[in-house]
Symmetry: C2
């Protein structure tokens, strides 16, 4: 039997919690019987939602009434003290009582509480926020998505290492191919920091990944590279612009496809194909961000996702732990 | 009769030129009889393509054998001398022989040749590259798209003024609503330059536009604002990411919709609706970038577009001249 994976779950964060979180756990448990859930939050509510749908050996509830609110500033969230469900969940990985921590709550507070409790991985200067992004071939890891607005070449090289380790934990059979997000593919373009990073990565014998040079925004999703590195400002703008563009196009498509009776009938006819399309672009598949650089991975599920989305984030947790993310990062640094 | 609009056209730039360019002029001429085209390039080839399809009073050809190549660096392009079709077209607006200049050729060379020949508008420090972008309500102007990698608050304020003047020249009946592209809508987020710009725009009594604060990438296309301002690095990443996302989604959609016989039949049934959708997103509608800040506007048509796309860029030229873009910028500064 494979080793039990222990996940510390903040049950009180995000919309419609703890119900959404508990339903996500129940859904995840169906196909992941080697996972143990340490659930932090309001015991009575959590117990009610579980309602005998989880094997008793697979979870424990650690009761707390205190919660970080979605409207808190990062500092306010941290100042709510050491008895919030978020703080206690992070503390659990700090004390090695679990392997990984997940919350759908306040992102800023989660980053601050994680930084206060967990140590940086040796030789990594700044942690980064990363996410999965679909491409024509499979998936890419993109980082940083907003944790660090300004970055040095050393930071961007760290992100290349961490992003590759994350990619390899999730897709052990593929080669990690790193590219720097820039405004042209020629060596001369971009700002000084990105050019310096290029030089350093290009001269190095990189462990764990191939360096593929620059990539432009329009190539982000063609699948030629799978680890895309940027400072937090650029990465955040790119991710959100992609999100906005996807929303815009699907809403225009919906308008066009159902605007009249012919449209409605033929869309009905084509429903299974359209469902396939919808599934491929389902944002719940890419739900969640991964905060890496600390000596334990911290997973942020989207606050607005449903239980399927939360369950997908739990699957990311188990794959990261099985893939030995932290150990991989340490290996790639040296 | 309204005043004749004179456009200086570099006929030799972009793929499939001069044919594409000439076909674009012929197409544009059908609905724009008050436009005069000064066409620069290989006279024999141009004459062959025109083949009596343009009224003789509506054009003249200025012959030159010299051309800037698509593969030239910006400086190499400029060094090809004062007899290239690009240089001569720019010189035509410099000498007030035409109102506006357009090229589908080498972007970098066009910017350098324009800067060498044309004067900056007084009190504008740096010219910017702008483009049109669809949103749920109509269109937005986005700038800078890569002319200035690093920008000061003064530059970003200049871009707000110029972008608003461009928007108002194209859409005289709408209010220009300016937003700064940032990574959060709260006042505290973003880098120092963007925060300083926010403060200044927020305190000012702006002429010609309303300042609406920050916008995130995912709101770029919802139409609440219509002039989106960023430094050239951020703007370029956002534009290209949107382009890449649109390509990705439409290719996934195509796969889903035509993957089997049911898909093919129902798509055929729905063809007029799908055509409407395709038309709404047709990149030829948004073809071309507008280089603003110099005392004459310079239009860059996409090198890869076809004659319809080039003709649309010619329509942008006529609307910009009729809308008195340069005069508007001067008014908004004061």
């Amino acid at each position: 039997m494979s080793k039990m994976i222990k996940i510390a779950v903040d049950a009180m964060g995000g919309d419609n919690s703890p119900k959404k979180v508990i339903d996500g756990i129940i859904h995840h448990h169906k196909s992941n019987t080697n996972t143990f859930y340490q659930i932090f939050g309001d015991k009575e509510k959590i117990q009610n939602h579980i309602n005998d749908q989880l094997s008793s050996y697979s979870f424990e509830i650690i009761h707390t009434k205190d919660v970080v609110k979605g409207t808190d500033s990062p500092l306010e969230g941290a100042k709510r003290g050491k008895n919030t469900s978020m703080w206690l969940a992070v503390q659990s990985v700090k004390e090695k009582k679990s392997d990984i921590v997940i919350s759908a709550g306040n992102t800023g507070a989660l980053l601050v509480i994680s930084k206060l409790n967990l140590k940086m991985i040796e030789n990594i200067d700044k942690p980064a926020l990363s996410a999965l992004w679909p491409n024509k071939k499979n998936m890419s890891v993109v980082l940083d998505l907003g944790a660090n607005i300004e970055c040095s070449p050393k930071n961007l090289i760290d992100f290349s290492i961490m992003g590759s380790a994350l990619f390899k934990s999730l897709y052990p059979d593929d080669t990690a191919r790193v590219a720097l997000l820039n405004i042209g593919s020629e060596e001369l373009k971009g700002n000084e920091i990105i050019k310096e990073t290029y030089q350093q990565l290009n001269q190095k014998n990189n462990t764990g990944f191939e360096f593929e040079g620059y990539i432009e925004g329009n190539q982000l999703m063609n699948g030629d590279v799978n680890v895309i590195v940027a400072d937090g400002f650029t990465g955040n703008v790119a991710l959100k612009t992609a999100e906005g563009t996807a929303n815009f196009i699907t809403s225009e498509l919906k308008k066009a496809m159902t605007g009249n009776i012919i449209g409605k009938i033929s869309s009905l006819l084509n429903i299974s194909n359209l469902k396939k399309f919808k599934k491929r672009l389902d944002p719940r598949l890419y739900n969640g961000a991964i905060f890496i650089g600390l000596d334990s991975p911290v997973i942020k599920s989207h606050g607005g996702t449903d239980y399927i989305g939360f369950s997908n984030s739990l699957s990311v947790c188990t794959r990261i732990v099985s893939g030995n993310l932290i150990e991989k990062i340490r290996n790639y640094i040296s």
